[in-house]
């Protein structure tokens, strides 16, 4: 039993942190979050070419480096720490996993190298205006057969859907419902009949889009109609990835709070000497450390691809969502007045915490899912 990162993994973390501190300081986050695209093309290329981040956990046969979800988790944790504005979560944690879970080896060979090289930005379009995260939320129907399908309808809340070159769309075969008939398709970002509308998001550091599809030509990924297992696994993996990303932000706001509590003086004392503040920080530490334990363990389960994954994915998503939001909210309270100004970064983490809590289903949703998965 060994629950620690290896020296190599720690080196990866150091390298990523150094890179992100240089490329994604607060000023840069604030610049990019005001843009519609929401990322910097040059940094995106550097991530792929200098650090190989997009290719990290992709198979070596398709241009990847063959690392695991543990390394991917480290990278996402560091990105969450600095609120990196980039289509990394959508491309690597959602779309690439979907392609690996749903696509044939040939299809993977067609799509993954572009992602690995930082040439493809990809998105996974599965949620719809109903806002549901489970199979019942997927109502878009696919018409066609063989390699030729068309899609009509609307996908909503699609992370980075407005900038993706390639969009993995989840739809269902007509006449099916529930977990039956779920199918994956690949759609070009500039496909005819596809209208992409960027949305104004509360969390400006993570962009979302609405996609309206009208007779859009779509290529099946894997076997149409039998995609539920692949989707479910993709969502579990994404929940693990997001948990790690949230942990990075949670650790950062804890540090902000503690640092401020040490130097801010009121009533002639640093405010951190008052139990009201000290105990808040202690509770935050307990929750952040627990969130790390859950997220890291979940990364390991995802890396092993073992039978624990569904349970620990929901476990980590539920706990980390609560812990991050709580920490980000307490961070504002501890900072007092300056904590809710636009100039201070506290609100950027607060908003990211909330958007992450809701993304892929909130804590209540995942606790219910967990209950089902452990047989309650």
């Amino acid at each position: 039993m060994n629950f620690a990162f290896s020296d190599e993994q720690e080196q990866l973390r150091d390298a990523v942190r150094k890179f992100l501190e240089a490329k994604s300081p607060s000023a840069e986050v604030r610049r990019l979050m005001e843009t519609t695209e929401g990322y910097d093309e040059a940094v995106w290329k550097q991530m792929a070419q200098e650090l190989g981040l997009q290719s990290l956990h992709l198979p070596e046969a398709h241009g990847g480096q063959g690392f695991t979800f543990v390394e991917l988790g480290i990278v996402l944790e560091e990105m969450g720490r600095v609120l990196l504005c980039a289509p990394y979560f959508s491309t690597v944690a959602l779309a690439a996993n979907a392609i690996m879970n749903a696509g044939s080896d040939e299809q993977q060979g067609a799509f993954l190298p572009g992602i690995a090289a930082g040439e493809t930005i990809a998105a996974l379009a599965f949620t719809e205006p109903n806002g549901k995260w489970d199979a019942s939320g997927i109502t878009m129907e696919a018409q066609g057969n063989g390699d030729s399908y068309t899609l009509d309808g609307t996908k909503m809340f699609v992370i980075d859907g407005h900038v993706a070159n390639q969009i993995v769309v989840v739809a269902r075969l007509s006449g099916t419902n529930g977990e039956d008939g779920i199918s994956f398709f690949s759609v070009d970002g500039d496909a005819s009949g596809l209208t992409r509308t960027p949305l104004a998001t509360m969390d400006q550091t993570r962009k979302q889009a609405r996609l309206d599809l009208s007779g859009v030509a779509a290529t099946p990924l894997g076997d149409p109609g039998s995609g539920w297992a692949a989707l479910s696994k993709t969502l579990d993996q994404a929940a693990v990835c997001l948990s790690n990303e949230m942990v990075g932000g949670a650790q950062k706001v804890l540090e902000m709070s503690v640092d401020y509590a040490k130097v801010r003086v009121q009533f002639g004392r640093p405010i951190g000497s008052f139990q009201a503040i000290k105990h808040k920080c202690a509770d935050m530490l307990l929750e952040v450390e627990s969130a790390k334990s859950a997220a890291y363990y979940a990364s390991w389960a995802a890396a092993e691809d073992n039978e624990e994954l569904p349970v620990v994915a929901s476990l980590a998503k539920a706990y980390c969502s609560d812990a991050y939001f709580h920490a980000a909210a307490e961070n504002i309270q501890i900072h007092g007045g300056i904590g809710f100004t636009w100039e201070h970064d506290a609100h950027l983490y607060f908003k990211r915490a909330k958007s992450s809590e809701i993304l892929l289903g909130d804590a209540t949703y995942h606790r219910e899912l967990l209950a089902q998965r452990i047989g309650i």
Binding site: T35, F267, A276, G337, W342
Partner: protein, 403 residues
């Protein structure tokens, strides 16, 4: 114990209702009732409306009749607020002048000061803002550093205030200044009335996480005010400042309760529409919010009844702690009711950051547990001044670093 109107109260309610029915017409009826003290939506029309209110002495309702008020008791104030809210009349613009400053002025001002300022507050000719907090005096308000020095017939003021709501609209500011730097923290403070329209006063908006700038920074650089523009005694302004805070903590939540009821009703409607009411956990939280807002009303009525009998003191802190916590929870609940939709804000990307009302509640309520005495300070006040628990022991050798 009786929650029905007495004949006098019923008559007063009729009068209010009739007046509103006659005057709340046309564009005024269209503005709607939303918005807190800091909200500037439809400002000009609201000012115009409130001048009509003032003309007919609904502004200054509780003031003594000799100053143009109606000497309304608490029950009448509650009735007025209820009817005003039911009529969906425009959000008030004169909160800081009418609700905070005027009662303090009536309690501590000279006859001359009252005659000078009250009529202009009632006629909505002069707006006021509150110069209390400073960068190093937030929870520890007595740590203010803004200096005022008497120079002949004038006070000369230097320093910086923060979180000054509507400073850019105000003609006057009630400012707490340090007039004796050698005295202990609470002893050298004066409560000063300072005109805003002078070269020595600079107002800079302070943008919030909501994207809007409800508050300001106010810089005093050799700003001045006349020697007699001090409320209460020089160097004895702390108790005057505390009295204002009492009004802020004490009465503000009454009209708020009505607004909160409305917010919850809207949220329940949203939850019905998007079927969030099918979820047991959401139902629990909506019910809990309903319980909370009703108890806010009951607590308020009990407090008002006890006020009739005598004084309200630090108990006001219970109200502040209660409503700010409730509203924060409501904001969180609203986001969970809306689900992914909650994360999409108003307008197009690239536009100014703009929130809908529920999103605004979610965000702005984060400031409400901080301003006007953070929740931690309210708990200290309740513990020490209501329950009589011992204060923290005096610090003989306090750390001196500042940041």
């Amino acid at each position: 114990m009786d929650f029905t109107d007495t004949p006098e109260e019923a008559a007063f309610r009729d009068e209010v209702r009739t007046w509103l029915g006659e005057h709340l017409v046309g564009e005024f009826a269209e503005i709607g009732g939303r918005g807190g003290p800091a909200d500037e939506t439809s400002w000009d029309a609201r000012v115009e409306w409130e001048r009509i209110l003032g003309r007919d002495r609904w502004v200054g309702l509780s003031w003594p009749e000799e100053y143009g008020g109606r000497a309304a008791n608490f029950a009448e104030q509650v009735i007025f607020n209820e009817e005003y809210a039911k009529a969906n009349a425009p959000a008030r613009v004169s909160f800081f002048g009418e609700q905070l400053f005027a009662p303090t002025l009536i309690a501590y001002g000279t006859e001359e000061q009252k005659r000078r300022f009250l009529p202009k507050i009632q006629s909505i000719e002069e707006f006021w803002c509150q110069g209390y907090s400073e960068p190093n005096a937030g929870s520890d308000l007595s740590n203010i550093q803004t200096r005022a020095v008497l120079d002949g017939d004038e006070w000369v003021i230097n320093g910086q205030k923060v979180w000054t709501t509507l400073a850019h609209r105000a003609q006057w500011c009630f400012v707490i200044t340090r007039t004796d730097p050698d005295a202990p923290a609470h002893k050298g403070i004066s409560y000063m009335l300072v005109p805003m329209d002078q070269p020595g006063v600079t107002v800079r908006p302070l943008r919030q996480m909501t994207g809007t700038a409800e508050f300001n920074e106010v810089f005093f650089d050799d700003a001045s005010t006349a020697k007699d523009m001090v409320l209460g005694e020089v160097n004895d302004g702390w108790k005057v400042a505390m009295a204002t805070l009492g009004f802020e903590r004490g009465t503000a939540f009454l009209s708020q309760q009505l607004a909160f009821q409305g917010e919850l009703a809207e949220l329940i409607e949203v939850a019905h529409k998007n079927s969030a009411t099918d979820e047991a956990t959401i139902r629990q939280r909506l019910a809990q919010a309903y319980i909370g807002v009703q108890i806010m009303k009951y607590n308020g009525m009990r407090m008002l009844t006890s006020l009739k009998k005598g004084a309200l003191g630090p108990e006001a802190s219970i109200g502040k702690l209660y409503w700010s916590t409730w509203h924060r929870d409501l904001g969180e609940l609203a986001m969970d009711v809306l689900g992914p939709e909650s994360q999409i804000v108003v307008g197009e990307p690239g536009d100014d950051y703009a929130l809908n009302e529920l999103q605004r509640t979610f965000m702005f309520s984060r400031s409400e547990t901080i301003y006007a005495g953070a929740s931690e300070i309210q708990r200290n006040i309740i513990g020490e001044r209501v329950l009589g628990l011992p204060r923290e022991p005096k610090i003989e050798s306090a750390p001196k670093e500042k940041t």
